[in-house]
């Protein structure tokens, strides 16, 4: 079986048989797409769009969700107004040569899912920078690169989504992937009321869980028209 198995694995695009060490839960977005494709209506779909991810309206025949391998830059809150500073690192080196990246979406997940109308003073600012150095654990200094995203938000929803397709395309073509730096700070209009009260201004961010990067890639020769008849 080993020869047949390795040939079949190869045809599935795998060099060796995966043996997951710490299988992470299946992201619900992948599960939803998988179930939708399995449904009878999907089987009557035009075979030509088999290599299109309708949910994101991009070409692609492979969707991966990368877990974040970065770490917090400070073990405690670095500053009364700066709630969180974290390196984000997604190991895209598993992508094969022939894969063309067509979309990358960053998801920042929180554990709360409250929809109550936020009390006064619940605003935060989120900033995302390129990192300018290799994300090694314990690297003291912080070399922020270009600011990619700056957005204020109220911690209401389970997750925030950001389209990082251009950044990820750069990582897979010419620039080195040094990861990103995520900062979440108290929003400007609250800094005036910095109080030494018991409740930290950052309390609303305690529900931060983690981040992941959803990446869609396309291997043109494995898709529809451009594929040579065997």
């Amino acid at each position: 079986l080993s020869l047949q198995e390795s040939l079949l694995l190869k045809s599935l695009g795998l060099s060796v048989k995966p043996s997951p060490k710490v299988p992470i839960p299946v992201p619900s977005v992948l599960w939803r797409i998988f179930q939708k494709r399995k449904s009878p209506s999907a089987t009557n779909r035009d075979p030509m769009d088999g290599c299109r991810v309708e949910e994101f309206n991009v070409p692609g025949n492979i969707i991966r969700v990368f877990a974040d391998q970065g770490h917090f830059i400070h073990s405690t809150q670095p500053h009364p107004l700066l709630c969180l500073q974290k390196r984000l690192y997604f190991n895209l080196s598993v992508l094969d040569e022939g894969e063309r990246l067509t979309m990358a979406q960053l998801e920042i997940k929180f554990s709360h899912n409250s929809y109550h109308s936020p009390g006064h003073g619940e605003g935060f600012e989120l900033r995302l920078y390129h990192s300018r150095q290799v994300p090694l654990k314990g690297t003291p200094s912080l070399e922020r690169g270009k600011l990619l995203v700056e957005q204020s938000f109220i911690p209401l929803h389970r997750s925030l989504l950001f389209n990082l397709s251009d950044v990820a395309k750069e990582w897979t073509t010419h620039s080195r992937n040094l990861g990103l730096i995520l900062e979440i700070a108290v929003s400007g209009d609250r800094t005036a009321s910095v109080s030494t009260g018991s409740r930290s201004l950052c309390a609303g961010i305690d529900s931060f869980v983690d981040t992941s990067l959803l990446v869609v890639t396309l291997i043109p020769e494995q898709c529809g028209v451009s594929r040579r008849r065997r």
């Binding site: 599935l12 399995k38 075979p47 290599c51 025949n61 492979i62 991966r64 877990a67």
Partner: protein, 113 residues
């Protein structure tokens, strides 16, 4: 495992059931879903005269005629898949990432000569 379907009287070219179970080959620890799928395969004769439902090419019609005149010289046409459909597989890759990958031509829907 090909289901031991009763041998149909017609051994004409048509799809036959073949269920691929990933746990049969010990892949269930990294393939999340599906646990298996109906791949099927093509089997059967392409005899002269080729009837319309055998999904045959003009060349196959010609070849069956030549085969009927000269069975030793020219073989019957082959029974092959003429319509296939894709499946998507959800699995863990070697870096424990979750991958949803689309594979074309994994299910035989129709056979022909």
């Amino acid at each position: 495992s090909a289901y031991n379907v009763p041998i149909t009287p017609s051994n004409l070219c048509k799809p036959r059931r073949l269920y691929i179970s990933f746990s049969d080959v010990g892949w269930e620890n990294w393939i999340i879903a599906p646990q298996g799928y109906m791949a099927n395969y093509c089997l059967g004769e392409c005899p002269f005269p080729l009837t319309a439902e055998l999904n045959s090419t003009n060349h196959a019609i010609l070849q069956t005629m030549v085969h009927s005149l000269d069975p030793e010289g020219t073989p019957q046409p082959c029974c092959v898949p003429v319509r296939l459909s894709p499946i998507s597989i959800l699995y863990y890759d070697n870096s424990d990432n979750v991958v949803l990958r689309h594979y074309e031509d994994m299910v035989v829907d129709e056979c022909g000569c």
